[in-house]
Symmetry: C2
Subunit: 352 residues, 2 copies
DNA sequence: ACAATGTGCTAAATCGTTTTATCTTTGTGC
DNA sequence: GCACAAAGATAAAACGATTTAGCACATTGT
């Protein structure tokens, strides 16, 4: 070996071992215990101010960084969270959830392990195991569409929160306030003066009858119907579709336009609305002069359309942040927490 | 304590300690060393078949899972990778990168730590430190737009790959093959029989002169110009814009349509093309009957438009997968690796 | 003068693995 | 019979932190 003996000098041929707490202690002329206590900032220790200074200086000059594995082994804390989702990270639709979660966990000096299950129960179990093996400090379960999720059994003392979903096994959940979101959409149209010629696009009987297990859509419709009723309004028609892609919005509305001229469309999501734009354009109708449109989600699309689409936003980013906050708050038996859906007003609604 | 002494029975009041290798060994009637060797599947050990059976059985009945921290401490391996990006996880534009990386790392039995830096050098340094502290087995640096990235110094023996970017400090990189992508776009139009009335949308002089440090766009344009030249074609006009959002596509094309009727538009990305669709529709021109369009990226949008947008796809998912593969391959001084951009043909091109 | 109390620090155990070195049997060849 | 090897296992030392218990010395009160 051509290596020098002193550990602080760079070894050319060695693997440049990490500097350890012992190195810091040695340089500071103290024990590792002392160094540990000082660096972790223990409150009630009786070490001298000089000792503090020396240790901090030594750590700085050596560029000391604690070994996370060793610390985890001893303390059972890892400053690491797990974000286990069915499709969030891998699709663009709900990326706000992970964005918010990442932002907040960074603020809390945590890092995030991201695992995707594709909704496969086997992968779900595996993901949970992987997370627990690594002793994460908490787990966020995120669901693509708000829904009831079945989780494998988990040790009771692991902090958990459901994000955009609910589950028997996990009482605390973060959900969009779809009910009031639904009301807000109707309010937008009502306050613009519409009282007739209203059409609902995307209503799905199966969903409303609970055949499809989607908490969120039920509530969205609930809110819409409640607000309509309170204002003594009703839809001229409800165009029903199971699939909420642009294609369907286009077809539904195109067909409808053969015989009718609606004054306002309430689309159940932005992609349906996107299709509606296409159908209206083909029919030579102008938005919002001939037809107004309100919709839900505040997808990327909404801002690209002309005129911009007025829509009730899914507060994904806020939800993601909130999930991390709840997870790190010990008092987290808070049950379900609803996050407001704000109206994003663009140009697709004009006063009647 | 009301706890029973034997560690294998459930303690009602205790914290239900994890089952450890020692527990497994005890149940199997062997030493922890034996249990360790058997469970890690060491090849050259001389333990009896009976011993193997007993240990595996014990592990199974106890539901043993190794403690990752302890193992990491000993072996310096964590089965964990870091994905450090500027904006990938938090935006929808390049989510394919993370999707591919997650898929491949799952296949390789690794998990991924996801960190976002927002392009901030301070956060970049912090992210790297967090990753190294946790002894990740490798780091992927992902850049939103392919570009030259400056990284802080990193210990030399940490496997690294740049994804969608290049960097002096990290020789191995995964990039889209923009040059051939550019050629492919032109080929598509040329083979459809267009030889005049061609317009380039989004050309940016700054970029082409290298003022803006974007490797990828330069190559894309390079490919376009090369293929054009080889076929003795030229653009009637080049509509220039720094910003490639739908808004700009709309404005550029709308203005152009006041005096000209192009036969085919080559848009430098799908969002520009989206704007072009809007402008063409307003001008009463039909796609593809009056005007054909080819573009780049294969954004979500491309499939939503009617007719569907023919576009040269950014192979994000493949790139993500490839990045993980390179990272785990020891032979990874492979330099830059280009991933083919495939043409996705939809309905926006008709033979001239 | 001596117990009691404080002050500043350290030794050593511990977390749960992996790995090296070693130990006891048992069989084998000569 | 005896050396020697092979087989089947184990003890103990890491890995790098945190934490408990306690040591040595100085100060104080009586």
């Amino acid at each position: 070996m051509l290596c020098d003996q002193t550990p602080s000098t760079d070894c050319i041929l060695s693997k440049k071992k990490r500097v350890t707490l012992a190195d810091v202690a040695r340089l500071a002329g103290l024990s590792t215990s002392a160094a540990s206590m000082i660096l972790t900032g223990r409150p009630d220790t009786r070490l001298s101010p000089e000792a503090h200074a020396r240790v901090h200086e030594a750590a700085a000059t050596l560029g000391y960084r604690p070994n996370a594995a060793a610390r985890a082994l001893r303390t059972d804390k890892t400053q690491t969270l797990a974000f286990i989702s069915d499709h969030i990270a891998t699709t663009r639709f709900a990326s706000g959830l992970i964005r918010g979660a990442l932002a907040e966990s960074e603020a809390a000096k945590q890092v995030m392990l991201v695992l995707e299950t594709h909704g496969d129960p086997a992968l779900e179990t595996r993901a949970i195991d992987e997370a627990i093996d690594r002793q994460v400090d908490g787990i966020i379960f995120a669901a693509m569409r708000s829904r009831e999720v079945f989780l494998p059994e988990i040790s009771a003392n692991m902090p958990m929160v459901m994000l955009n979903g609910t589950s028997k096994q996990c009482p605390t959940a973060i959900l969009p306030d779809e009910f009031n979101g639904g009301r807000a959409a109707v309010r937008l149209l009502a306050e613009a003066g519409f009282s007739e010629g209203l059409v609902l696009v995307g209503h799905n009987a199966d969903v409303e009858e609970g055949l499809f297990r989607s908490e969120t859509v039920i509530r969205r419709l609930d809110g819409i119907r409640t607000e309509m009723a309170e204002r003594s309004l009703s839809f001229d028609d409800e165009l029903s579709s199971w699939n909420w892609e642009p294609e369907n919005g286009y077809k539904l509305v195109k067909k409808y336009l053969k015989h009718e001229r609606p004054k306002a469309l309430l689309c159940l999501n932005d992609r349906l609305a996107f299709g509606a734009y296409q159908a209206l354009a083909e029919a030579g109708l102008s938005i919002p002069d001939d037809t107004s449109i309100v919709s839900f989600d505040n997808d990327e699309l909404a801002s690209y359309l002309r005129p911009g689409l007025t829509t009730i936003a899914l507060p994904h980013e806020t939800m993601g942040r909130e999930a991390v906050r709840m997870l790190l708050d010990a008092k987290a038996d808070a049950g379900a927490q609803l996050v407001e859906m704000e109206a994003v007003v663009r140009g697709s609604v004009r006063d009647a």
